[in-house]
Symmetry: C3
Subunit: 375 residues, 3 copies
Amino acid sequence: QEKEASTFSPNISYGSKGFEFKSGNDLFSLQFQSRLQFRFATPRDQDPLSFDDFREVPQVVFKINRARLKVGGHAYKSWLKYYWEYELARGNLLDFRIMIEKWDFFRVKVGQWKTYYTRERVISSGKQQMVDRSIVNRPFTLDRQQGVEISGRVETIVDFSYYLSVLTGTGRAVLENDDRNLMYVGRLQWNIFGKEVDMSGSDIPVHESPAGIIALGAATNQSRYTRFSSAGGGQLEGFESGEAGQYKLKQYLVETAFKWKGFSWQHETHWKRIDDRLNGTVSDLEGSYFQAGYFFGNIWDWFPMPLELAGRFAYYRPIYLRGEDKQDEYGLAFNWFFVEHRNKLTAECSYFKISENEFDEVGGARFRVQWEISF
Amino acid sequence: QEKEASTFSPNISYGSKGFEFKSGNDLFSLQFQSRLQFRFATPRDQDPLSFDDFREVPQVVFKINRARLKVGGHAYKSWLKYYWEYELARGNLLDFRIMIEKWDFFRVKVGQWKTYYTRERVISSGKQQMVDRSIVNRPFTLDRQQGVEISGRVETIVDFSYYLSVLTGTGRAVLENDDRNLMYVGRLQWNIFGKEVDMSGSDIPVHESPAGIIALGAATNQSRYTRFSSAGGGQLEGFESGEAGQYKLKQYLVETAFKWKGFSWQHETHWKRIDDRLNGTVSDLEGSYFQAGYFFGNIWDWFPMPLELAGRFAYYRPIYLRGEDKQDEYGLAFNWFFVEHRNKLTAECSYFKISENEFDEVGGARFRVQWEISF
Amino acid sequence: QEKEASTFSPNISYGSKGFEFKSGNDLFSLQFQSRLQFRFATPRDQDPLSFDDFREVPQVVFKINRARLKVGGHAYKSWLKYYWEYELARGNLLDFRIMIEKWDFFRVKVGQWKTYYTRERVISSGKQQMVDRSIVNRPFTLDRQQGVEISGRVETIVDFSYYLSVLTGTGRAVLENDDRNLMYVGRLQWNIFGKEVDMSGSDIPVHESPAGIIALGAATNQSRYTRFSSAGGGQLEGFESGEAGQYKLKQYLVETAFKWKGFSWQHETHWKRIDDRLNGTVSDLEGSYFQAGYFFGNIWDWFPMPLELAGRFAYYRPIYLRGEDKQDEYGLAFNWFFVEHRNKLTAECSYFKISENEFDEVGGARFRVQWEISF
């Protein structure tokens, strides 16, 4: 009924966030973008988790792996931003957050989003360098949580960014906590060359001057879960469905990233302790990934400019009650960027190696092709 | 292929229903709005229903309580309106309705929506005065149903509004009825001061002249359910999952509402009889809520104008087979309206008291904070 | 951040695909349309499948049968098209596809959509001539699958269209195949009068010159399923939940369609063999439907122009292990087109007859009214 904002000279544009509608006074904006990730995989798409996974019937699959609707903008004030993202293929609300971004050194976020803890997880699945995340992501990510975050970038003698979050800590989409315990997450990042490295894989568009960061992170939580994913809270291999507050988690992270003249580097090393307060047992997990890519067209004339070559090595070393596992991942990817990350084709070969409790090793290869497109 | 409506001088605006796109000839319009309700609650969010609920582990929870996408407008004719609302966090289609609103005294609605029966339920969760509805809502609401409604406002010697609905009567989102019996709902409302009271809590924007209504409602239904909610049909405490047509419901309502100069009042009294036709038993439920609020800035200079103080008392007296319950709710809320109901912060304290079958009473408090924002 | 496409003179229009937003350079477009299908049915909505279905309690139901959000357009190039469709009432992603349509004789499609096999299934539920599809659709449709399709229209001495698809073959929304076997589908269509017959029921808008096609189709698949629907893979009556690769399907199709001066004709005849490789048994299914409609206003002055009369006969003859069934459907429909298929009212009477294994026949009637509206 009441319509305080009158008709304005329309302002429509198409940019990296899709179609954007803006009010003339710039107090309101709305962005609308869809995204499709279409994937071919064989002999299966999922990373192997155990010996058994190598013994399953091989598959050949074409599939819509991700289908997203993204809506964002600002309202009432240019610094009061909103964003939501819906996974259409599975019917999941992924992000829904409001951000107060009036000052660069002090920003507030409320809602649900990917906890600002690890670079690999925070990078959108549409802006990855390889077809998907490494084997390290599953055990260590905090994934999406609901709560409040303050963050900012401070440019003093050193240029650094900080992120502090207080979250319910029971994963995506929950309506209840299991107890009084919340999740606390902190991240401190040194912007070595006086600028942040944006959250995307590959050096595209190319950085003419170097950008690099070193970050430390820490998180603690107590809940019924030992891991988190887009599906919400869950359990790692060997952990049973937990009771309220059964598992106390503590985890740490060292992360580096660097981009310059077509070269990109990113790495994370994780430690995580799971304290089972019901059974009085403790498990320690450790893992790392190292990833680099380069547009060789920069040094070789015959090499096409839009083509990037990238490689990854990752290891995961969990020490559970039942013993010690060793998991390794080796990957090689070719990216052809039609329109940066918004329209790209990736072909990837991976090799996985698992050994459980000093048993003989098992290994296997995987081949995937992916078309990632936003519009 | 065929494109009868040609390009028109674009007409875009931002108003209380979000971004609006209109055709130059005004035959078509499209509104697009998102809404987030972010809530903190302790020791739990849900109203207690029984003794046991007071004994559970206390919680602390941050959560996205509601995340809505609202799309509406008109098509082909200015009086042929459409509206749909999707709950993104739970993946539920809430409303989807077409409205023929050519005449004010005779309107037709088809589809699914909140049955026009009680004021408290019809008021959007984004326009409430307290953080959420009273304890009376759960047992008495007809919630969303699918069917047909005719309604209108008649200005004769008395100014009144009527609503008559024929509905499938098995709740939201069903694709079948359980039997031949439909739900019938009627509501007659006297607009005392010659205007309707809009369906929202709090007197904002302020009414300079008084608006008030007295309404009577009645409903009857036969199905397998004893209550309805956003989740569809369900059962009240003590009722078992029913067979087709097992429960025959009859219910009545008296409702009042009034708004003037920053003061608002609303009240409902409900009676409901559940006739279990399989077991031959009858249960009688009764309940009321009384709610009032005021912007004290109108009389006290030192009191901030955007701040409203509101209070509620509600009681629920079910007489089941197993005996008689008594449930009471006392609530106090502070609302800070940044932009009317579209951007507001609410802090609320409640106290609940339950006594079952003359047992000793149990009571407990709850504290909630909520940020409600539409954009 | 990077925003390569600058603000452009806005171009907004409303057409048969809803509101459309276009960039000035025409490299990007976005269409946004909603659709509601509201249905009344008695004594039930679903087609009967067996004797038992005639014995169930009769129902009376009002319901939202389909509630769709459709988003499409093109991006980066005018020939790089996208389209997705979401079923709001059930929370299902139906279509999500990218189409390279640079050349008419060679088009590529990737994603998920209704496999281009049978006319009846490919015609949108919003553009049907009767209230819904015939009894032949359930056993023979390939429904939606994920994969890749090439197609095109070739205008040589004969004018023909071809469609070749390679699909995962385990239905809508799956993330895995059950084995290495893919689904292969081919369709060859002769465009008799030098133009295709568009995929919609009824001759509206009217064809001034005749359009007709004869098509042949074939498909093969091996999976755990014997049939497909919007819900994904499933089983026909008498088939148990299958193991990976248990059922090998081969099926064929002959199809005709014709439209001219208000008259429309469409027909399909299907054969399908189900080879149960685990139990070594074979089942053969056969079925056809024949459907015609006419706007009698073209020959009788007293007959309203927007009113179409349409009829259908369909039979289904499965030969399973357990014996032979006979199912027949007779239907008569009245369509009132307010705005072509985008706003129409349909009333339909049907009669169903089933005989199982030479038992006595059972029959029954059904009455449905449907309002179909897009906006």
